[in-house]
Amino acid sequence: MNMSLNHLASPDDASTLSRLRDRLGLEAEAEGLLDIAYTTIDSPVGTLLLAATPRGLLRVAYDTEDHDRVLDTLAGRISPRVLRAPRRLDAAARELDEYFGGRRRVFDLPLDLSLSAGFRQLVQRHLPEIGYGQTRTYGQVAELVGNPRAVRAVGTACATNPLPVVVPCHRVLRADGAVGGYIGGSDVKKALLRLEAAA
C-alpha cells in the first residue's frame, strides 16, 4: 500500500481548480483579505500586468520587467496576500483599452502611490498635468514641481514610475529632443508618443 495523493488526479481537476481559484478571489475580496489583486491584459505594447490594492491601482508593468519578479517585489514590499483576481482591475483594463484605441485622453482611476515616496512621489503626482499629446523636458518638470535644479532627480522619478502609461512619464523628454530612457524601452515610449500625436 503506497497510495499517493498525486496518483488520485482526476481529469476534471484543472477546470475544478480554475473555478475554485475564481471563487477564492471573490471570497478573499469579500473578507477583506485580498491585499493585492492582479491581472494581465494584452496591449499594442505587449502584455501588461495590472495590480491594485483596495485603495487603487498600484502597479502597471511591462513584459520586459518580468511579471513574476514584479509580483515577488509587491509581495515583499506591500503584502504577500496576492491573488490573480481580475475584477478589481476591470476599470483600469477598460480605460487602458480605450487609451490604446485612441478613445481616451485622461485616466480616471484611483491610484495607490505607496510604492514611491518623497520627491519621486511628488513628481509622479504632477506628471498627469502634462496633457495628452504634449511633452515636457525633465527640466520643465523640475520647475513644475518647484525644484528647478532637481533635473536628475526628476529623471529618476520618471524611471521608477510604478504606473507607466497611466502616470504619463512617457511625455517627459530630454532637453536635446531625444526621447530619453523609459521603463518599457525607448521603442515603447516612441510608440506611445506616436499614438497620442495621431489621435
Binding site: M1, M3, S4, H7, L8, D13, L24, P80
Partner: protein, 166 residues
C-alpha cells in the same frame, strides 16, 4: 522573502483538493478547499518563510474537512469518488498493477475498513482523527484500517509486496 499567495495556490491547489475529496467526496470537497485557502491566506503573512507550505495547507485542509463532517453530521462516501479518477492514475505504487483493480478492491471493502484505509493511507489522517469522523476509538480505527489492508492483501495480492506505512 515570501512568494505571492497566488503561487501557493497554484502549487498546492491540487493536493488540497485531493485531500478534501478523499475525506468528503467531490461536492463538499469544494467548500472545504475554499475554507482551507481562505484560512491559509489570512494566516499567510505570519507563516515562517522557510515553512513547508504543502504540509501546512494539508494540515489546515484536514481540519477544515473534519469540521465540515462534524457540522453536517452526515457520513462521507470517500472512496465512491475514486474509481472515475483511476483511469488517469498512472500508478498506485504497486508494481505491475492496474490501478483500477486496486481501487475496485478498495471500493469492495466493508464501509468502515474502506473509510479507515482511505483516510489513513490516502488523506494521511491520524487514527485519532479518523475516530472523530467514524466514531469509536483510535484503536478501533487502527483495527479497521489494518483489517482493510489485510483484506486488500488477500483480494489484491500485488499490494502485499509493498509495506504499509504505520
Amino acid at each position: 522573502m515570501k512568494q505571492p499567495f497566488e503561487k501557493v495556490v497554484e502549487q498546492n491547489g491540487g493536493a488540497v483538493l485531493r485531500v478534501c475529496r478523499v475525506i468528503l467526496g467531490a461536492h463538499d470537497a469544494e467548500d472545504a478547499w475554499s475554507e482551507t485557502f481562505l484560512a491559509a491566506m489570512r494566516a499567510y503573512p505570519d507563516l515562517p518563510d522557510d515553512a513547508n507550505a504543502e504540509a501546512w495547507l494539508v494540515t489546515i485542509a484536514r481540519r477544515k474537512a473534519i469540521d465540515v463532517l462534524r457540522a453536517r453530521k452526515r457520513h462521507p462516501t470517500p472512496v465512491g469518488e475514486i474509481p472515475e479518477a483511476s483511469g488517469v492514475a498512472p500508478s498506485l505504487g504497486v508494481p505491475g498493477a492496474e490501478d483500477g483493480d486496486l481501487w475496485q478492491a478498495v471500493a469492495a471493502l466493508p464501509a468502515k475498513q474502506r473509510q479507515a484505509v482511505a483516510y489513513h493511507y490516502v488523506a494521511g489522517l491520524a487514527y485519532a482523527e479518523i475516530a472523530e469522523i467514524l466514531g469509536g476509538t483510535s484503536d478501533a480505527a487502527r483495527r479497521a484500517a489494518a483489517d482493510g489492508v489485510k483484506n486488500l492483501r488477500k483480494n489484491y495480492p500485488g499490494a502485499a509486496r509493498e509495506g504499509a506505512p504505520s
